[in-house]
Symmetry: C2
Amino acid sequence: MKQIEVIPVSGLPEVNEGDDLARLIFDSLGRSRITINDDDILVIKQKIVSKSEGRLVKLADVTPGRRASALAKKHGKDPKLVELVLREAVRVVRAGHGVIITETRHGFVCANSGVDQSNVGRGFAALLPLDPDKSSRRLRHRLEELSSKKLAVIVTDSFGRPWRRGQTDVAIGCSGINPLVSYAGKKDAFGYELRVTEPAIVDEIAGAAELSIGKLAKIPAALVRGVGFVPGELGVKSLIMPRDRDLFR
Amino acid sequence: MKQIEVIPVSGLPEVNEGDDLARLIFDSLGRSRITINDDDILVIKQKIVSKSEGRLVKLADVTPGRRASALAKKHGKDPKLVELVLREAVRVVRAGHGVIITETRHGFVCANSGVDQSNVGRGFAALLPLDPDKSSRRLRHRLEELSSKKLAVIVTDSFGRPWRRGQTDVAIGCSGINPLVSYAGKKDAFGYELRVTEPAIVDEIAGAAELSIGKLAKIPAALVRGVGFVPGELGVKSLIMPRDRDLFR
């Protein structure tokens, strides 16, 4: 009987490049009198991680190439933004209805390569962290140092999905937690072998945290407590479907 | 600051066709001394709902047609199971690597039309409820009657997704809760309009519940408490991407 709690982390200041984000989170928790426990999972939105890593781009500084200009015109988008989207992408997966869906350098398939203009200030766009697993690891190490507790960190972003409306938060980076739980070889109560059952718990945890984070309040992080997980450093990169097994390439 | 709790519902007996599932859940909660509050969300796995609705099929009674036999042979699967998968489907979306991905009559795109042999006993397969929104509504009404509280119900199943390994639990039916939160027209702290932001909270709640439910323990349901939501009867059917907006058909 695992009871799970999702505790929002509020009161963070505006974050700038080079800030010690783990310290800011640790101090915010302290001010809210929330103590970090062993095996807590700190879930944090990509945007604030990108800000701390200097992944903001001033759109005025971007010169759109020919491909970006053509794509922007066709889909009614800002050519400078599309230029950034293409720079972050290895391929365009679909484009239509004002949306460009790409595969990012990390292997994520999402709208606009994760490039986003919300919560960054006018004239700017935020790019995804270069290596979100590494960002997670860095945050985890520093938070463990500050708290003297053992924890996991998940960096999240909101992704759409095919065939279904709306977005859910998913993990784009993680550290200290294995992203998949494998039931391979395990049997159900009737002796039936659960061969293909592998819950992607980091994505479920990302979604759970979003429920308390929201989009408007200044709550870019949450502590998730009570989830049973296996520590590990496989990272979200291990969740990317290998090309030869991908039915949707 | 919304703190969220996920409380597993354990101690349910094996469920059979015609059982008053809401009553069984209510009694299990009572035995665990868990009181239902207003605005709690009862999340329940599809399998147990299907069982109570008589959606189990004895495989020995299924005669595979020609198409099922051919598909089964090609992908190394049981022809009787494939026959059920095709009966539940409106089209085969992809097939390969021992997996058949279909679009169900409800409009869900998932492996095997949601037909599943785990936790049902040898020689049987469970089909998805015919109308999971209706199943949710029925459960909600009965639970509200028993508890005298106002709540929401979400019926869930584990779905894979393109490009990413593993499965997450998603909502296949809901009642008493609007599946999407719309931020359309709302502005961020910088005045930027969040036009396309619509978190599919029922899916995030489904995933959050799965974290406490697991696959092996007899915990087919959880109460999720503390999530802000808008009551409504749009159902999960309103989450299905309309054909003319679907870039992935």
